[in-house]
Symmetry: C2
Subunit: 222 residues, 2 copies
């Protein structure tokens, strides 16, 4: 340093008094800090330096564990997908009947997005993640698989039809979630507005995926 520093030790690390020069749990601390930033400021508010600051560590420290900001965010996204998969699983396990399970999953998907907007947006911000990370791809597919399980139960058709139906279901809820987060269905700040959005979703799901009626599809002309 150019000028002598009167303080014996750097001002970092102060909020984490239990740690010495070596943090010990820096990976976890950085991930937790990142998730906190995403929760408070949204995806655009994330900053590697801020995450390091919250973990009580210098800006360069994260690179030794995650390589770069993308690496850290990829880890956060992976956990996000795991949490999402869990939410989808839980939603389905509470109901019986494929249609009801799918409906509950759709509601849970959007609920997840509205409750954790920053995390959700980051999970689908490929350019800010390590796009070809194997674990990320796996976690994403695992979450999608939760849909496919129910879909396979719902449509009695071929695998191709199941794939189509799964893409349709995912598109529906994902599009709704994204549009809701961008305020296209009205603001989502208060709890009342949140509920408003969810009842709109309920109507949409009932409209697109009506109960009863094994849906007989027209032959698909490519």
């Amino acid at each position: 340093m150019t000028k002598p520093n009167a303080r014996a030790r750097p001002s970092h690390r102060v909020p984490k008094p239990e740690a010495g020069y070596h943090h010990g749990e820096l990976q976890e601390a950085l991930i937790a800090a990142s998730e906190a930033i995403l929760a408070e400021q949204g995806a655009e508010g994330f900053t590697l330096r801020e995450a390091a600051r919250r973990a009580g560590v210098s800006p360069a420290a994260p690179s030794h564990h995650f390589g770069n900001a993308q690496g850290l965010l990829t880890e956060v996204a992976i956990r996000g997908y795991e949490a999402l998969a869990g939410a989808l699983r839980d939603a389905a396990s509470g109901r019986q009947g494929a249609r009801e399970k799918l409906h509950a999953q759709g509601m849970a998907y959007v609920e997840f997005a509205l409750k954790h907007p920053g995390r959700f947006q980051m999970m689908f911000a490929n350019k800010r993640l390590v796009a070809d990370d194997a674990r990320l791809a796996q976690a994403s597919r695992a979450a999608g698989h939760e849909f496919e399980i129910i879909i396979a139960e719902l449509v009695g058709g071929t695998a191709k039809e199941a794939k189509t139906a799964a893409a349709a279901a995912w598109s529906t809820v994902h599009g709704f979630a994204k549009l809701a987060l961008e305020g296209k269905f009205g603001p989502v700040r208060s709890e009342a507005e949140h509920r408003e959005i969810m009842t709109t979703l309920n109507r949409v799901l009932n409209y697109l995926w009506p109960v009863g009626s094994a849906r007989r599809q027209v032959q698909i002309e490519d």
Copy 2:
């Protein structure tokens, strides 16, 4: 700069030799430059300084016309929504029958997103735009209105049901477009992959919005 620069005049403005100190068409030049960046580098690649550079102007110049980066991007987004509305209108005008029109609009929506990924992503990146800009909101609603026109024709029901159906249609194609852009339905680089995605979309639309059959909905339990 710290060391003297030998060049007599700044390197700006050189690529636009027809302009003097006053650019004359700086607004348009900046918008065009921004759209070029979005087309080449995607939404994350946009930079105010780079846009100014391409317009042959200093980094501070855009502020006099757009206030800040959000202002410029808002203008770009407005034009994007206008282009999208036009594409939806064109798609519907080529067909007859509400179902066919809606199907064509859905295809056009995703086609637009895949052909202009950067612009599309930016249109829905509220945090990077002037969120409460009246013209932006108007342009967005105008695009959505293109859907609603056809939907009103398709569902013979109440206004509430039409609103639900419009939200459903928009969610479907928007979700599909977003997921496709994030590579969730496979890569989209080559022209062949692009077509592959579009046939998947075709199946999805046929699945969710089957031809014929005025869809009788179950009563909605809120």
